[in-house]
Amino acid sequence: MKKQVLVLSALLAMISLFAFTAKYGFLYPAHFPKPVYHFNNNTLSKAKIELGRVLFYDPMLSKDGSISCASCHSSYNAFAHTDHDLSHGINDQIGFRNAPALFNLAWQQQFMWDGAINHLDMQALAPITHPKEMGENIIDVVSKIQSSTLYKTLFKNAYNDTLVTGERLLKAMSQFQLTLVSSESKYDKVIKKQASFTEQEQRGYTLFKQHCNSCHTEPLFSNYSFANNGLPVDSTLNDFGKMNITQKKEDSILFKIPTLRNLSYTFPYMHDGRFKKLNEVLHHYTQGIKHSATLAVQLKNSIYLSPYQKTDLMAFILTLNDSAFVFNPNHKYPHHILSANPNKIPANKL
């Protein structure tokens, strides 16, 4: 009886920890806000998620069959591109922005560092068509996939027929990316009362709330808005962020605020990958801010952190690493499908 009560208590605890939107099949933790993605327009299914996962890892989406989404968004880097300041593309071309980490996308309304994309479904079009990334177009991608026997099976499983359309392809890719939820870090466990911060981490948490939380708002550790964080413009890139899209001078040097989750896996940092180490990032915020007309109001007054405080803050930031997410086998290269079908693409379609 005692055992049954314990099991029941554990089950109730589990239920209280997770909100489960059974209708759309999307699981997210109770301490997260409500997602902004409209699942009613793209109800998750196992088969569609699997299709999206294969597409995500398939270099067929690029012009020459050499680059997949995962080339710049690898699972073991929390779907960022560690060690590369700027993204890579076909023919060894270098792009002009740091590939951002992909997770917790259901809580984001605007994508890309400059907010150019307004919906997750349409995001994949940007790298697919960019001449320095995948250099392809959606019509040819659909044509290649339509000719693949592997995808005939995957589309049949997902949509009950083999018809490949841009809509189906893009929505399947969204489905896989929506499953990339990072919510099992030590911080999350503390919030769920399954763990405790050390004294140093707790001091760091207090500093975080004092200096960082207004932009890197917990529990997602970003408010996903846009800000000028005082970085001088790199003259080799001349990237003015959101202003490139809106053409408004008040948007000059505004970039999307990235999450602070999984930073140990996602270096280098900033939109142009200029900082390789977190110490450099802290140094920037305490001593490197360049004042300009659009500087975020939170950064107009200097932030002072002693070396001890920096260490404490760093200790807290490291509690945001989520190894369970990074090593989740459901997110990795789908060997069981892609390796089993090495000749899936007709040669004349490459």
């Binding site: 150019a116 349409m122 960019h130 959606i138 841009g166 809509e167």
Partner: protein
């Protein structure tokens, strides 16, 4: 009894089809009163140069029919892509004996549609009418070439869209008509004027130039008498 119900249902279907009438809305590209053929060269007014038009695609949305200021018909298919190369006709099935004095539609998609993510049919990104590098539909696409254009391969490209204020590009069009065959000429000699081709041969992003050009496109729509 089952047969009686089936026959009744069939007769209802038959009657509703008989009772419907069709209104056809067509778009005809023109150059100096001549029907414009894609890929064919035409002399530019006030110039010794010529041009050819290769692509003309645009969205017609929210078609409605009105009588004495009241809307009496709203087309159930909200977005229709006109591609002059393949399809320049929209068919409307309206109730029998419905009469109207005005047709109203928009050139371009509404702002909500631009934020809904991946769509099917005429709105599928495969139609080549969705910007990839930023979100939003291209409401009007006109491409071609002219030696007067100081661009690579002398091309002109007008990809006209934009759904955010202050550069919303969607245009409302209202014509008085009672016809069931409504042909609307698109006067390309008014759209592709000498100065436009010389000064702004390419518009590829939302903004003021896109709005100016799509307004010019709207003004060049003339119903045939």
């Amino acid at each position: 009894m089952r047969y009686v119900v089936a026959i009744f249902m069939l007769s209802l279907t038959f009657c509703s089809e008989v009772m419907a009438q069709q209104v056809q809305v067509s778009f005809t590209p023109k150059w100096n009163n001549e029907t414009l053929v894609l890929g064919k060269y035409y002399p530019i007014l006030n110039s010794n140069d010529s041009l050819r038009v290769d692509v003309v695609k645009f969205y017609i949305t929210n078609i409605s029919l009105w009588k004495q200021g009241k809307q009496i018909y709203n087309c159930p298919i909200k977005h229709q892509l006109i591609n002059i190369e393949t399809n320049n006709v929209i068919d409307l099935n309206i109730p029998h004996q419905m009469s109207y004095d005005t047709i109203q539609f928009f050139v371009g998609t509404d702002s909500l549609t631009n934020t809904l993510g991946a769509m099917s049919g005429d709105l599928d990104a495969m139609q080549g009418m969705y910007w990839a590098w930023q979100s939003g539909y291209i409401n009007v696409k006109i491409e071609g070439a002219s030696s007067i254009c100081n661009t690579r391969k002398n091309v002109f490209q007008y990809h006209l869209g934009g759904y955010l204020s202050p550069n919303q590009s969607r245009q409302q069009v209202i014509f008085a008509t009672t016809n069931h065959r409504i042909n609307i000429n698109i006067l390309f000699d008014e759209i592709l004027q000498l100065q436009t081709l010389q000064n702004v041969p390419e518009v590829m992003s939302p903004g003021n130039q896109a709005v100016i050009n799509i307004q010019r496109f709207k003004q060049a729509l003339k119903p045939t008498e």
